[in-house]
């Protein structure tokens, strides 16, 4: 396949997200400006100007009209997707790390980093239909986990919130009371910070990637460990294919660590694994730096990867990808 290279960001990429129909791709990077691209040919549609710090995460509503972004400038901003205007800004006492719209887009779950004595929190905010009615009140605030919470997402039917972070434990919280319902097992779970989490389309299972060089597949309801995919490098980004039984995992080391003796350091590829058999299907090379973000198009026919090198690479699969046999 011939990947389409999009160099709109000056700094490393942090997150990629497709809208529900798969025609728009949103990219967040450390350069303060989330960008929206057309997902078929990679043409840039626009940028959202207003943040003053690295943008860590974003999510787009079901009808592709609202965009929410979380940034290190201690704010979470709500945007109009089409025009790029900022509709609202939630302000916090510490950098915001992860954002996720609930099913129905009425609520958004936000995590904030531990900062200056404040512990990390998970907060739920209500999103009003009309931006003029928007308030900053939190519907729910959860404090507790040690360390940074790298990702928090809604569980099935918005009944639960699933969080994962630096303490390498996955926690499931009740979304109405804030009570801790389940924790992942310490022995079989990740051993180092969990950097990324991706839900499957029907939210029945999810994939987490960790700096302990593995990615693990979990069942959402029981939090049982289903599968483990071994990598040879710390994992920064994971994605599950909505169409086939594939998962893709990307990672790499920071430039600071490149002098380690690992022979294959420097060849940054996104690795495809068979979701059920756990075998490696193959790798897609090309990034000149560690891969920080991965996303599958909802139709499963293309995927994009964002790297430390500031490039977004958009790949449309060749016909023979769909007939890979293990």
């Amino acid at each position: 396949m011939r990947p389409i290279l999009m160099k709109g960001h000056e700094r490393p990429l942090t997150f990629l997200k497709y809208n529900r129909e798969g025609d728009l791709l949103l990219s967040c990077a450390k350069d303060h400006t989330p960008t929206v691209w057309f997902a078929d040919d990679g043409q840039r549609l626009g940028t959202y100007r207003g943040h003053n710090g690295a943008v860590w995460c974003c999510d787009v509503s079901h009808d592709s009209t609202r965009l929410v972004t979380g940034s290190a400038d201690q704010s979470v901003k709500l945007w109009d997707v089409q025009t790029g205007t900022q509709l609202y800004s939630f302000n916090f006492n510490s950098p915001a790390r992860s954002v996720d719209f609930s099913v129905g887009d009425k609520l958004v779950v936000i995590t904030t980093d531990p900062f200056m004595g404040n512990p990390s929190t998970i907060q739920v905010k209500r999103i009003a239909e009309d931006p003029a009615d928007q308030t900053s009140d939190s519907v729910l605030t959860i404090k507790g986990p040690q360390g940074r919470i790298n990702r928090a997402v809604w569980g099935p039917l918005n009944k639960t919130i699933i969080s994962a972070g630096e303490d390498s434990i996955i926690r499931i919280w009740d979304s109405e009371t804030g009570q801790l319902l389940k924790e992942s097992d310490k022995e079989s779970g990740h051993q180092k910070t969990i950097s990324s989490l991706c839900m499957f389309t029907d939210k029945s299972h999810f994939l987490t990637g960790s700096a302990d060089k593995s990615a693990k597949l979990w069942d959402t309801r029981s939090l049982t460990l289903l599968k483990t995919y071994q990598m040879d490098r710390p994992v920064n980004a994971v994605a599950i294919s909505p169409l086939l039984d594939h998962v893709v995992i990307g990672g790499g080391q920071e430039a600071v660590n490149v002098t380690m003796t690992d022979r294959r350091a420097g060849k940054f590829e996104a690795k495809f694994y068979h979701k059920i058999l756990q075998d490696e299907i193959g790798g897609v090379k090309g990034h000149f730096g560690p891969i920080n973000a991965l996303a599958f198009n909802p139709d499963g026919r293309s995927f994009s990867s964002g790297g430390e090198d500031g490039y977004v690479r958009l790949h449309h699969f060749d016909p023979d990808y769909f007939s890979i046999r293990m």
């Binding site: 990947p3 840039r44 940028t47 420097g266 193959g282 090309g286 000149f288």
Partner: protein, 293 residues
Amino acid sequence: MAAVESARPQAAKLRWGELEEDDAGDLDFLLPPRVVEGPDENGIKKTTEYRFDEDGNKVKVTTTTRVRKLGKARVSKKAKERRNWAKFGDAVHEDVGSRLTMVSTEEILLERPRAPGTKEEPSVSEGLGPVQPGAVLMVCRTCGKKGDHWTSKCPYKDLAQPPETFVERPSTADAASAAPGGAGRSAYVPPSMRGGGERTGTEMSRRRNDENSVRVTNLSEDTREPDLLELFRTFGPVSRVYVAIDQKTGMSRGFGFVNFVHREDAERAINKLNGYGYDNLILRVEWATPRPN
């Protein structure tokens, strides 16, 4: 009586005989029609149009495009509307020629996993011999034999590089054997005196070669001389390539030198390959000696 009536089409065209002298110039306002030579087997489409430019001159514009079908997409109505959204933010002043979005020049494949160390050469299939299904493909760089042993275990380790990798190399062992006949290997013959190379011109040409020396840095670990030769020979004849190898680990130290025969080729190589992405690292290519001007 069959009257053959040939239907004379009422042509609306002007008959030049009826035109007056002065009106002949009026025809200039008519432009020849646009001609589209449809996509041929390579997908190349040529459109020839005519238009008037700002000074009123008739201009012929030929546009050659390659039409490539990326694939069919079922697009929802909303998605189609979104396609027509106006650009905003930093994209407002974007013209079509902006270089933000580019299709990669390289074809990237989903590479199936291989056992570590095998080389993905397309010529692997030749001379394979009987290989058991499932056996790992072992390629030895020194003797070029496949399926037998790795490079470090090569029984012919101390042989010079296989002769076909180099065009001219007056100092190889092969050339040494063509020493002045009868020397019987006991007498040492300096390289410049060995047969097979230019005698008087050797030292001067080698010195000039060193001025055509190009340093290449940021090489990947498994880059070797043949890789550099293949990369640089397109610019012209190469007299020598060298890749610095760490003896302990066998990996490239990340840099090497290429000596061109002609200076202009070296210059072109520098201009073209500096910043070129090779094996996932961005090469730095420059003059080896301080810029000789």
